[in-house]
Every structure is written in C-alpha cells, then in structure tokens.
Amino acid sequence: MRVRPLAMSVLALALATGCAAGDADSPEPARPVPLTGPNSARVSWTANREAAVNGPGGGYRVYYSSTPNFDIGSAEFTDVPYDPGLGAAPTAVIVDDLPSGTIYFKVVAYSALNRPGASGGSASEPSQQAQVMLP
C-alpha cells in the first residue's frame, strides 16, 4: 500500500506512517487485508473543529475496505496526522493500490488528549461511510 497525503509538508509525510491513534475508543491496529490493484482514490472530508485534532498528536485515520458497512477494527487504514507546516491536520488523502470494484471509506479523527482513565489519546466515532467505484 502506498499513500500520498495531500497538502502535507515533507516532514509530515515522513511521519505519516508512524503516528497511531488508539485507546479504548479507537480500533486495534488493523490486520492487513490484501487490497492490491492499480487504482487510486482521493478521500476528503470536512475539517474537524477540535483544536486537539488540528494540533500535535492529532489527525485523521482513513479506513477502507471492499466490504460495505465494514468494521474498522479489521480494516486497512492510513493515517493523516497533524501537519505543523499547515497548522492543521490535512483533510484529504490519496490512497493508492486499490483493487477494482466498490471501495468503502470511513474517517476517524483522533487527538493526543486522554479521556478520563484512558491513555494513548482519544478518537472519534467513525464517520458515515463514503464509497467509490474503481474501474
């Protein structure tokens, strides 16, 4: 899988695969599901207004699957972390190497802030599912 974040600095790009959300609210790290193909999709969303999403340790995680209404706990994902150069977390990403057919996406926003009694940062509920038909 290759990922091309949009509107990110070189630095943020370098960090893009190293940042993980995850606490009681967020999913377990995904087991990779074979999803290889020649296609790419651009996923975008409306910026979250939480300062902690658009600050250090914050960002988005974009999950995808060829199964509709998939469970994000077992889906592939790519992270779109806060970009210090942008002063916010980017709100779009290009996901490459997708197979043909319909691909489904859900976006989760995360932060470095801990809910009471939790650690590892907080995460939102997943967004509603978006989909794209790839040739």
């Binding site: 070189v10 630095l11 370098a14 960090l15 190293g18 296609n39 790419s40 999709a41 651009r42 996923v43 975008s44 969303w45 409306t46 979250n48 207004r49 939480e50 300062a51 902690a52 999403v53 250090p56 988005y60 210090p84 290009i94 691909i103 996406f105 859900k106 976006v107 989760v108 926003a109 995360y110 932060s111 802030l113 801990n114 809910r115 009471p116 939790a118 907080s122 995460a123 939102s124 509920e125 997943p126 967004s127 509603q128 599912q129 978006a130 989909q131 794209v132 038909m133 790839l134 040739p135």
Partner: protein, 604 residues
Amino acid sequence: MATLGFRMLGLAGALLVVGGAQASTPPLDLARGLYVPGEILVRFRPGTDSQMRAHVVGSRGDQVLREVGRSGVVRVKLAPGQTVAAALDAYQRDPDVAYVQPNYRYRAFAVPNDPQYGQLWGLRNTGQSIAGGSYASNNPGVAGRDMGAEAAWDLETDCSSVVVAVLDTGVNYDHEDLAPNMWNGLPNHGDDFIDGDGDPMDEHGHGTHVAGTIGAVGNNGIGTTGVCWRVQLMAVRVLDAAGSGTTASIAAGIDFAVTEGAKVINLSLGGPSSDAVLSSAILRARDEGVVVVAAAGNEGSNNNTSPRYPCNFAHDNIVCVAALDQAYGLASFSNYGSTTVDVGAPGTNILSTWSGIVQTFVDDFNTGGVLDWTAAPVGGWAYASKPLGAPGGGSVTMPMLLNPSMWPDVVYGNNRDDRVYKTFDLAGVDAATVSFAFFADTEPGADFFRVAYSPAGGDPFAGGTLLESIDGSTDNFSDFREYDIADCVTATCTIGFQLLTDSAGQDLGVGIFEFGINTLQLDTARYEVVNGTSMAAPHVSGLAALLFAYNPEYGYLDVVESIKNGGTPVAVLTDRTTTGRAANAMGSLAYIRPPTGVVATPEP
C-alpha cells in the same frame, strides 16, 4: 405577554462559611514539564545568517521550523528516529552553534492556590467533608467523583475569550473573588431587567453563587475557584430579591446577553409552563451560536411527565442539568428525565461566592401567647398555636395568624375588611424579602386574602404597596410566598395581611405560619454552601466556556455534543438522563465529533 412565574433553583441556604482573605496575589506558578519530542532549540553564534542556519540543520536531515524571535534561536524539527539527546550532543559540537537545549513544555500548575479550593468537591473530590453543608447524605462522598477539572486545567484555565451571561438574581460584581472576571462591556457589568435601573447588583445571593462556580478567579490566593479561572462574567438581573422573575424579564435578558456577545447563558431557573416567548428567545440565542445551560428543577420529579422550562424545550442549544451528590448519587431534590434532562453535575454542598450577609428574622405573631400584631378591627385576625400535619406523618404545633379566629373549624363572615400588620426596623440593610407559608380558602373572584407593605409605617392597606391578592383554595396543602420588598429597607417597614370579603359566600379563611423577613447586607467577601440544580448548571456553563476557549473554531452544537458525549457514565443517571453521564471537563475536551462530509472519488 404572559407573566409566568419563574423561580431560581437553589435550595435554602445553610451556614455561612467564613471567607478566606489572603492579601497578596502570588504570580502564576510555572512548572517545567516534559520537552517536545523530536524538537530542539538551537542558538547559533552571531554572524550566522538564516541561510547558513538552514544549511547546518538541513545537512543533518533536520528541518528549521521557525526562527524564535530575534534571538538567533531556531526551532529545529529532528529527522525521524533521531532522539533529542543525540541531537543535543551533535549540535553542541557544531562550531556555528552557541548553545542548544530541548524545547521544554511549560504549563500552569493545575492546582490553584485559592484557600477554599479544597472544599470544592465538584472540581476535585478527595472524599473531603464539606463544612457547613446542609445536605447530609454522602457528605463526605467518594473520592474521584468530580468533574475532572484538574486534568482539564492542564490544558486550559483561561476562558477570558468567552462571555458567560449569568441570568439570575444579579451578581455582586464587587465581590473580591469575582470583580476581575466581570464583563466590562457596559457600566455595572451587565443590565437589570427587574428594576430597569441598569444595575444588576445581586440582592439575593443566588446569582453570585452561580457566577462563582462558573468563574471565581482561580489561583489568586482568595476564596474559591471557578471551572474557568479567567472568564468574562456578564451579570443579567432577571430575578428579584425573592428569586422570582417573569417571561418578560428573562426573555429580555436573553436578548440582551445575545446582543452583547455572550456565548454561554446560564439559566439556573425554571417554571412549569411551556412558554412561547421564552422559547423563541432561546431560539434567537441558538441562531447566534449561544449555548444555554438550564437547571432541571428541584422538585425531585420526572421532567418527562412534569415538564419544567426552559429545561424541557427541545432546542439543540440547551443542556439541561440534574444535581449529583458527593458520591454521584442523584440528589434527592433533583429533577430528572430520560428524554428531557441531559447530564448530571455536582449540586449538593456547593461552596461559592455570595453577595452579602443574610439574616432572617422570624416572627411568631405573639408575645406570651397574645397577638402582638396590630389587628384592625380587633377580633378580626387572631393568634393561635395549631397542630398541622407534618410531611411524612404526625403533626407539629405551629404559631399561626388566623382569620377567622376559630380557623379552620368555622367559616369567615360576610362584608369583612380585616387587617393585621406589624412594623419592622429594616434600616441599614441593602435588600429585604418577606416570606411566609399559608393555607387559604376563599370564594374565588369574590373574597380575597391580600398582602401589602409600607415603608412609612402604619396600615399598609392605606397608602402602601399591594403585593398580591389571593383567592380560591390551597386545597388542604400549604402554599408559600416570598416577595421582594427592597424599597422597604426603612426603620418603619410595615407588613400586613387583609381578608376582604363581599356580601355572600363564606369559606374557611386563612392560616399563616413560618413568617420571616430576610435581609441582605452587601459584602464582598462572603461565601456560602448551598444545594440545588441551580448549583449544578453553572458547573456545566463553566465547562461550556472552557470548551469554547480551548476550541476557537467550535460552534454551539460542538460544545453541546462535547458536554453530552464527553461525560462520565454514572449508573444512577442511566434511566434518568438522555446521556446517562455526569459532565466531565477532561472527557469533554478529549471528545471528538465524528468527521463529516466524507467524499471518495477516483484519482486518475
């Protein structure tokens, strides 16, 4: 316009708590925390220009984030995998570098130095006992059952970007622990929709208590601490000295607050009527992005079946708050509602600022068993000690003022104009109310039980001010009244009752008991411990301000959703609120709304 009755939702006060008084205000404590991972600060020697600096940094695979001021210091983002310790060592060896250090994080100590902070269990519950608390159950409560304020204060204590309007009995804006946090948009820090004199000075205390919970100045070495250490408190007086207001006063107050830029409105008040004028004022507030926090009510009842407004309005900018005790049980007096009340918050034994010194003078109508009020004519009103049914069974003997004298065993006479009154010396106080309980049974629309006062002494029904004319029956239950008599603070304040009947129709008459005059002497260093959903709501208003302050992009719905979804689950609230949660400051700050507007398109 309807003139519906609204009442504040605090319970009667308890003992006064002596205010703290430390003279000096120490500077904000700063604690050295951790340093920012993957970053260092490098000071280059004089003579290196920015191009050279960028070259030194870039040659190591690092990146200049920015130049820090004009000091020749640059903030460097390290290459991935590089540790701060290793980078410090490497940069220190570079001949162009004068010195190098981690980019330390600094933050305010999250524990304020206010001397009475330790009593504020709602902000930090250590299992402490609250001195002077009148709510006996769960005092002390359970450590950790609190709003999580200290964790939130690690992130934000300063809500000074946010105006919070306290629509209440006013605010003592001169209070030692409130004055620096008062909104300064207009003279007197707000407005008055009771007297219309522009001065929202609190003649009761309730509004000052609410204001202190939202934003008593934190870490100033004085008194208590608000949920916000710094904030702009707007005083909007919509309830009188007796704690009563009307649709007209409250709706005007909301419009004022919205127009003057409030982002949060605290409504620690309520009434039983679904009020279209009040409803539309709150909708106008919503249209301007204003969050309205309402108290659920203190009847111990279910708002699903016995609605209380504004709590029960379905508008999405309202958060309705129930009161929790120190163990996070539902307070015995707190209303609740699985579809109408949103969250719980601390509401028993709450210590906060008060507007002055309260004194209550009880009058039992007699001296040595003989009526000591002036009855005109003699023989109309009478004194007797009567057994009354007590709540929960049994009876208590109560000194009572009666008409007819054989109340409640006979009916009153026709064509009566019986008056009774007494003069009290209220000189030197700033505000006063008169209160009493009573049974009444008169012919509706024909015979009247009337209440009046006169600041000039003598018969208050001859030239005084009529407070109310009551008719009909209280149906074997006692009723209660409290009236603002602020213009009766003279040495000759006369309070009087009248039974006025026509030529036909005779009922059981009137029995009055628990008569008292409550005075307030304004004071800038008073604190009190009180109970009520009125005290729970401002914890949430403070949190709303904190959320607006920390998240400058937030709209009203973001704040409301964060409060509702960021709370801590509490078992007793599961079937009694829409969320099952107690408001939690850190939980709300960490809450993130699900992303929206997700679109996927093929990328060529």
